[in-house]
C-alpha cells in the first residue's frame, strides 16, 4: 500500500473512533437533525476554499464552527420554531454551498474524496481525533447527567449551556476530521449509524461506547474493502455508509429475535 494511502486509512480509523464515541451522546441527546445540519454547514466553506484554491478543509472549518454557534443559539430555544429554523439553516447552507462550489469539486465536497493527506494534515487529524476522544471521556459524567435531565444536571452544579456548546464544538471537530473521507453530506452518517446500531445491544453506557466505536471502525475497514473490490470510487464514503446502515438493519433484526 502507498504511504499516503496508509496515512489516510489510519486517519480514517481515528475519525471512526471519535465518531463512534461522540455519536453515543448525539443519539441520547436526540440531536439527529442538528447533527445533519452541522455537517452541511461545512459545504459553503468548502466551496469558497475551492474557489480561492486553498485547502478546502480550512474553509470547511470556518463555516463549520461559525455555524455551530448558530445551531447552539437555536437549540437554546425550544419547540417547533427551532426545528423549522434548523431546517432553514440546513437548506440555506446546502444551497449556498452548491452555488459557490465549482462544478468539478461539488461531488468531492458532498461525498468526500478530498485528495491525499500529507504528514501535517495527518498529524492534525490524529490530534483532532485525540481531542475528541479525550473530551468525551472528560465530559462523560456531565453529559450523562445533562442528557438525562438538564434540570437535575443544573441542580448538581453543572452549567448546562456552556457544556452544550463545548459538546457541539467537539462534534463539529469530529465532522471536520471526517470531511476528507465522508464529505459534507455523509460526515454525520458515521457518527449516527454506529451509535444507533450499538444502542440495540448495549444496556449500559460503557458497552454502548465500546460497541459504537467498534462498529464505526469496522465500517471504515469494510468501506475501504468494498470500495477497492466493488465500487471503485474516489471516495470510501458510500461503501462505508452502506455497510454501517446494513449493520444497523442487522442490529434491529437481531434485537427483535432476542
Amino acid at each position: 500500500m502507498h504511504e499516503g494511502n496508509i496515512l489516510l486509512f489510519f486517519l480514517a480509523l481515528c475519525f471512526a473512533l471519535a465518531a463512534g464515541l461522540i455519536g453515543c451522546f448525539a443519539l441520547m441527546k436526540r440531536m439527529l437533525l442538528a447533527s445533519d445540519v452541522i455537517s452541511h454547514l461545512a459545504l459553503p466553506g468548502l466551496g469558497v476554499a475551492f474557489l480561492l484554491k486553498i485547502n478546502p478543509l480550512y474553509g470547511g472549518a470556518v463555516t463549520l464552527f461559525l455555524g455551530t454557534f448558530l445551531v447552539w443559539q437555536l437549540q437554546k430555544k425550544t419547540g417547533l420554531a427551532t426545528d423549522a429554523s434548523i431546517g432553514v439553516v440546513f437548506a440555506a447552507a446546502l444551497a449556498i454551498g452548491a452555488a459557490v462550489t465549482p462544478k468539478g469539486d461539488l461531488i468531492d465536497a458532498l461525498f468526500g474524496g478530498l485528495g491525499s493527506v500529507n504528514w501535517l494534515g495527518f498529524l492534525l487529524g490524529v490530534a483532532a481525533s485525540a481531542v475528541v476522544v479525550i473530551a468525551v471521556f472528560l465530559m462523560k459524567d456531565r453529559l450523562t447527567l445533562s442528557t438525562f435531565s438538564t434540570e437535575l444536571a443544573a441542580s448538581s452544579g453543572i452549567r448546562v449551556d456552556p457544556l452544550d456548546l463545548i459538546y457541539l464544538l467537539v462534534f463539529s471537530l469530529t465532522v471536520l476530521v471526517g470531511l476528507r473521507f465522508m464529505g459534507a453530506l455523509l460526515a454525520s452518517s458515521l457518527i449516527i449509524l454506529p451509535a444507533a446500531a450499538a444502542r440495540q445491544f448495549a444496556d449500559r453506557l460503557s458497552r454502548f461506547f465500546v460497541i459504537s466505536a467498534a462498529i464505526s471502525m469496522i465500517s471504515i475497514v469494510a468501506g475501504v474493502f468494498f470500495n477497492t473490490y466493488l465500487f471503485h470510487l474516489s471516495t470510501i464514503a458510500p461503501a462505508t455508509v452502506i455497510f454501517a446502515a446494513l449493520v444497523f438493519a442487522a442490529s434491529l433484526i437481531v434485537r427483535r429475535s432476542w
Binding site: 434540570e151 448538581s156 444502542r199 448495549a202
Partner: protein
C-alpha cells in the same frame, strides 16, 4: 432584613414566561430546619417557584440562600428516555464524579433510600414510577444536601412507598436537621410534616403555620371551591 437563622430569603420574586406572569411580588423567608409546604391550585406557580429557587428559570427580585446552603432537588417528573442506556447506578456515579464525592457516599444513599441491586442496575427508562421516584430521591440526597426541594415527591408512588418516602423525609428533617421545601397537593401530608405553609394563588400569597392557615374557609378561597381531598389528621 433576613432573621439570623434564616437559610433562605426571597424578596419581591417575579417570574414571567413571555406575557404570562406566573409569580408576582412574592416575599418569604425559610429558617434552618423548617419544613415549608408550598400549596395552591394547578398553575399557581409551585413548580416554577422551586425552579426559581434553584436558579433554573430567569426571575426578577432577590433569592438569597445563606452561606453553606447545599441544595438537593427531587423534580415532579423527568421524561426518562428508553433510548438512553443510563442505569440508576450510572446516574449516581456521574453525580458523585462531578461533585468529587467518595464512593462511600453512594453506598450511604443507596442504603438510606433502600434501593435494591436490581433497581440500581436497571436502565432509568425501564423503571416503574415508584422505583424511579426512589432513584430521584437517592440522587437528590447524594452529596449530603442540607436543604431538600421536593416537588410532589410521591405523585407516582403507591401508598406503602409513599409512606416510606415521607418517613424518610421525616427522618432526614429530625435526625439531620435538614430544611425541606415541599410542594404537595396532599393536605394531610402538609399538615403532618410541615411547620410552615406557603399558599400560592392568583390572589395575594399567604404564609403561616398549618394549624392557622389550613382552615376550611381559607382552603375554599385558595382552591375556588370545597377542598374534597383535604384530610385533617389529628395527632
Amino acid at each position: 432584613m433576613a432573621s439570623p437563622n434564616s437559610i433562605l430569603s426571597v424578596e419581591k420574586l417575579g417570574v414571567a414566561f413571555g406575557h404570562s406572569i406566573i409569580i408576582d411580588d412574592l416575599s418569604f423567608e425559610v429558617r434552618e430546619g423548617d419544613c415549608l409546604a408550598v400549596i395552591g391550585p394547578n398553575g399557581a406557580g409551585k413548580t416554577v417557584l422551586l425552579k426559581a429557587l434553584l436558579g433554573l428559570v430567569p426571575h426578577r427580585g432577590e433569592i438569597r440562600w445563606s452561606v453553606g446552603a447545599h441544595l438537593g432537588y427531587v423534580p415532579q417528573k423527568v421524561a426518562a428516555d428508553r433510548q438512553q442506556p443510563i442505569r440508576v447506578v450510572d446516574l449516581l456515579a456521574s453525580k458523585a464524579a462531578v461533585q468529587h464525592l467518595p464512593s462511600a457516599d453512594i453506598s450511604a444513599v443507596i442504603s438510606e433510600v433502600g434501593l435494591s441491586q436490581q433497581v440500581l442496575n436497571s436502565s432509568v427508562g425501564h423503571l416503574s414510577g415508584g422505583q424511579f421516584q426512589k432513584a430521584l430521591i437517592a440522587f437528590a440526597l447524594l452529596g449530603r444536601p442540607n436543604v431538600l426541594l421536593f416537588d410532589e415527591p410521591t405523585a407516582s408512588l403507591d401508598e406503602l412507598a409513599e409512606e416510606h418516602a415521607y418517613d424518610l423525609l421525616h427522618k432526614l428533617q429530625h435526625e439531620k436537621g435538614m430544611t425541606v421545601i415541599l410542594v404537595s397537593h396532599d393536605l394531610s401530608v402538609v399538615y403532618r410534616y410541615a411547620n410552615q405553609v406557603l399558599c400560592l394563588s392568583k390572589g395575594k400569597p399567604c404564609m403561616g403555620p398549618p394549624k392557622e392557615l389550613l382552615t376550611p374557609g381559607m382552603l375554599e378561597e385558595l382552591y375556588g371551591g370545597p377542598s374534597k381531598f383535604y384530610r385533617h389528621i389529628h395527632e
